[in-house]
Amino acid sequence: MISHLRSLWLVFKHMFHKRETVQYPEEKPYLPPRWRGRIVLTRDPDGMERCVACYLCAAACPVDCISLQATEDENGRRYPEFFRINFSRCIFCGYCEDACPTYAIQLIPDFEMAEYDRQNLVYEKEHLLISGQGKYHGYNFYRVAGVDAGVKAKGAGEKEREPVDVRKLLP
């Protein structure tokens, strides 16, 4: 009985406590920079698409919400012909970002994606691509890769040796 009365009093005192509620649309919560929200496709410092259409993100996705088709341009540079993310399926786990070898796919701190029409949650490449580099600056896969895809000549990359001429005897 005493403990009941005491709990009544303690609950009553909560009237004068600070509210826990965050009044959301007026009062935005702080989202850390690494918050896993909407997915974007970034570009390299030269303004080209980073994505090399390796399908690793689609393979890593636990809910199969990413679909893409690889193709090559005239220089042999791989890029996705289409890149589609169905955000009504996406669980924002960030596995695609982890899987991506070229920092192309990234999750950003934006979660306000409500739509009246479910179909509007299917984002195509033009919706996903942003003009900047996202969280990782200065990285360009084709500058460090061993292939020539019109960005640099073979062997001209950073930390890359000239290709070995297999027909010469000299080491």
């Binding site: 009941h4 709990s7 009544l8 303690l10 609950v11 009553f12 909560h14 009237m15 406590h17 600070k18 509210r19 826990e20 509620t21 009044q23």
Partner: protein, 319 residues
């Protein structure tokens, strides 16, 4: 204007005010629960969220009012009306002020007890006619709870009746001019309040509708305005018990003269309504057998003892 017309207008006015209070309690309860849980509660619709009541009403009126095909239709429809009628009838005997009140009945207390017994029918019939095992369990629990708590609800009131020497609620209020009855009848007051909680099956004694065990208990199958009737009935029940506690133990309309009697009555009544909500915000639901054993093994003997002692004291000192 004749006497009859004045009476009719007063009845209609009291009915309107009561229904407004009952509907308003939806907002008050949600807001106060939120306040006691460090939240804000509904504050979007209108100033301070006051239009939430309107929104809730519109919503519940437009909901599909579905009668399950397996239900006993007539009883199913009549059950929610019983609770509202019983509670509203009880309000007839409550004297809000010396002049505002529906009827000046010389057996007011008994009338209230009779009407609150009627409330049990609504729970039982709703549970039975729904033809659903959870509803039936809720109905059975409700009937057991209400019948057993009625016993000492009546007994706890008898102390007041002995002190006032009348069953008339107006006389009981007038008898409290010297001292409010909750001081000599503190035990009776506590027992009556607990029994009132159980009668209105409010939390923590909402065992007939215990969500965690019985979905929604006796009103699992109800929807739309029939469900709304149960809820309005429950809020009216809270108002009724608060009004009765005010009348029987806290001097009804009596109070210092700087405020009119009706304001005193409403202040006291709302204080008890808030206490009801505070209790809901605080206490967890007891187990069913705990509720029954509390009733029969603790509260009933206490009520009898209280009655005995009050009677003895009144007889000995000729109060």
């Amino acid at each position: 204007m004749s006497e009859t017309w004045i009476h009719i207008i007063m009845v209609v006015l009291i009915l309107l005010v009561l229904l407004t209070i009952a509907a308003g309690l939806i907002y008050v309860e949600r807001r106060m629960l939120a306040v006691w849980q460090d939240r804000y509660g509904p504050n979007r619709t209108g100033p301070f969220g006051l239009l939430q009541v309107l929104a809730d009403m519109v919503k519940i009126f437009f909901k599909e009012d579905w009668i399950p095909p397996f239900a006993d239709k007539k009883v199913f429809i009549i059950a929610p009306t019983i609770v509202m009628m019983a509670v509203l009838m009880s309000f007839a005997v409550i004297p809000f002020t010396p002049h505002i009140g529906v009827v000046d009945l010389n057996i007011g207390v008994l009338f209230f007890l009779a009407m609150s017994s009627m409330g049990a029918y609504s729970v039982v019939l709703a549970g039975w006619s729904s033809n659903n095992k959870y509803s039936l369990l809720g109905g059975i629990r409700g009937s057991a709870q209400m019948i057993s708590y009625e016993v000492f609800m009546g007994l706890s009131l008898m102390g007041v009746v002995i002190l006032a020497g009348s069953f008339n609620l107006r006389d009981i209020v007038e008898a409290q001019r010297k001292i409010w009855f909750f001081i000599p009848q503190i035990v009776g007051f506590i027992i009556f309040f607990l029994a009132g909680l159980a009668e209105t099956h409010r939390l923590p004694f909402d065992i007939p509708e215990a969500e965690s065990e019985l979905i929604a208990g006796y009103h699992s199958e109800y929807s739309g305005m029939k469900f709304g009737m149960f809820f309005v009935g429950e809020y009216l029940g809270i108002t009724l018990i608060s009004a009765l506690v005010t009348t029987l133990y806290f001097g009804g309309w009596l109070g210092p003269h700087f405020l009119p009697p009706i304001v005193w009555f409403l202040i006291k009544m709302f204080a008890f309504i808030l206490l009801f909500i505070l209790i809901r915000a605080t206490l967890p639901r007891p187990r069913y057998d705990q509720l029954m054993s509390l009733g029969w093994k603790v509260l009933l003997p206490l009520a009898l003892l209280n009655l005995l002692v009050t009677g003895a004291v009144v007889l000995y000192w000729h109060l």
